[in-house]
Symmetry: C2
Subunit: 228 residues, 2 copies
DNA sequence: ACCATAATCAATCACTCGATTGCTTCTGTC
DNA sequence: GACAGAAGCAATCGAGTGATTGATTATGGT
């Protein structure tokens, strides 16, 4: 908590002129070390949350000295922030624009197979959320929200429905295999981590969203003529 | 972890013959102490999860000596188990049988107003879930699941829908105000903790479940005649 | 070759954690 | 009132916790 280590935190990609031809064989490689620590941090924080994560475990998993965590990220807190920040950047290129909502939601539910740690971090951050943090970047879901609003305007969605709430429901339902594994085991009698169940669940989620009336993109011709 | 303190764990409601007429004024009241510790534990574990909870904080909140936690519950782990066990017992009388699904789901979403700590404990337990624990007691959702199956048999729900998955989706969506507050802040621009938004969200959830076709109980006459 | 510095490490720091110990005080029974 | 046992408490213990220190080694520029 005492911020006495302030040096060297603004490193990023330093302007290195003429880097060595074989950086993979170097004994010392700051970028590689940073990356390894970040990867280990993602695994550890995803598995145990912030309070349950151990710096020693992260360093051991990364194969580096424990002190390097403070050296590169200014302690546990800085490492956590750097990890979440990096993860949020990756999330931006998740679904291509114009994807129909049921398929979009299906991919969200399948994301746990591609990046289970990322989904778990999202879930942890929700429970750890205090209200003053940055939360999720607004532009992440802006496109999906706009799409739902368009669907409503075209008459596919009843006027009394709040598109923002629908998006939240679908997002929450999409990560249920991560947030409610114990309920899934009990209700479905299946392994919520297995790829088989995750795919089945994603298909079901797409099916349900089609039942609500979320099929077709806004670009498609509306089912009936615009009412006015 | 070392289970050397094994005495006194099986107290429960001891068979006290002729208890004092005014136990509320006694300086020593084991039942009251036990209850206070359990209440404080629920608050602490709900706020910070197991790893983030502090025995000192629980004892301070309960207004008792820290050692009494080990005395009554055999340490942090025993206290956590006793707390979750007590909470699960309370959950059994949540919704009266025969309640239509949309209303049932609406009440689940509103539960966060009645017992926010309980919902948070459920959410924490999901992320902490390792797969070997007891999970949720099966009979908790059995009634709702049966109701969904009946709806499907009566033709209100398409045959390709998996009722168990639908129940999981609805459960997960119902606790979104607890699990994804940061997303709600971003997408809805509202305070996910406020009673106003929670009620709005619960109404929306009931609305959506009606859109899927979950209105009416199984006891109601089916909309069309049974197909066979 | 030399040097300044970035990168890495071992050692250990101050502190917090949950648990334990040994004692004191209250309570019900006779 | 005396006694036995339950209930409660202060003190402290050992095992971690994250952070810090100070030295060592590799690296790139000149």
């Amino acid at each position: 908590m005492i911020s006495s280590v302030t040096r060297l935190y603004d490193r990023g990609v330093s302007s290195n002129p003429r880097r060595s031809p074989q950086p993979s064989e170097r004994q010392r490689d700051p970028e590689r070390t940073r990356r390894r620590i970040l990867e280990a941090a993602a695994a550890e924080f995803a598995a145990h949350g912030y309070a349950g994560a151990r710096i020693r475990a992260i360093a051991a998993r990364a194969g580096v000295n424990q002190q390097l965590v403070s050296y590169y990220f200014d302690g546990k807190d800085g490492l956590y922030q750097a990890m979440t920040q990096q993860w949020q950047q990756r999330q931006h290129e998740l679904v291509p624009p114009g994807t129909p909502m049921p398929e979009q939601i299906r991919r969200y539910a399948l994301e746990v197979l591609r990046d289970p740690e990322g989904v778990r971090v999202l879930a942890w951050s929700g429970l750890q959320h205090t209200g003053d943090g940055p939360g999720a970047p607004p532009e992440t879901f802006e496109q999906s929200l706009r799409q739902l609003r368009d669907l409503q305007e075209s008459g596919r969605l009843p006027a009394e429905v709040d598109p923002a709430c629908v998006l939240v429901m679908l997002m929450s339902a999409a990560i249920a295999t991560t947030t409610l594994p114990q309920v899934i085991e009990s209700v479905c009698g299946a392994d919520p981590r297995s790829a088989e169940f995750v795919r089945h669940y994603a298909d079901q989620l797409a099916l349900i969203s089609r039942l609500i009336g979320l099929d077709a993109t806004a670009e498609d011709p509306p089912p009936i003529d615009a009412r006015r």
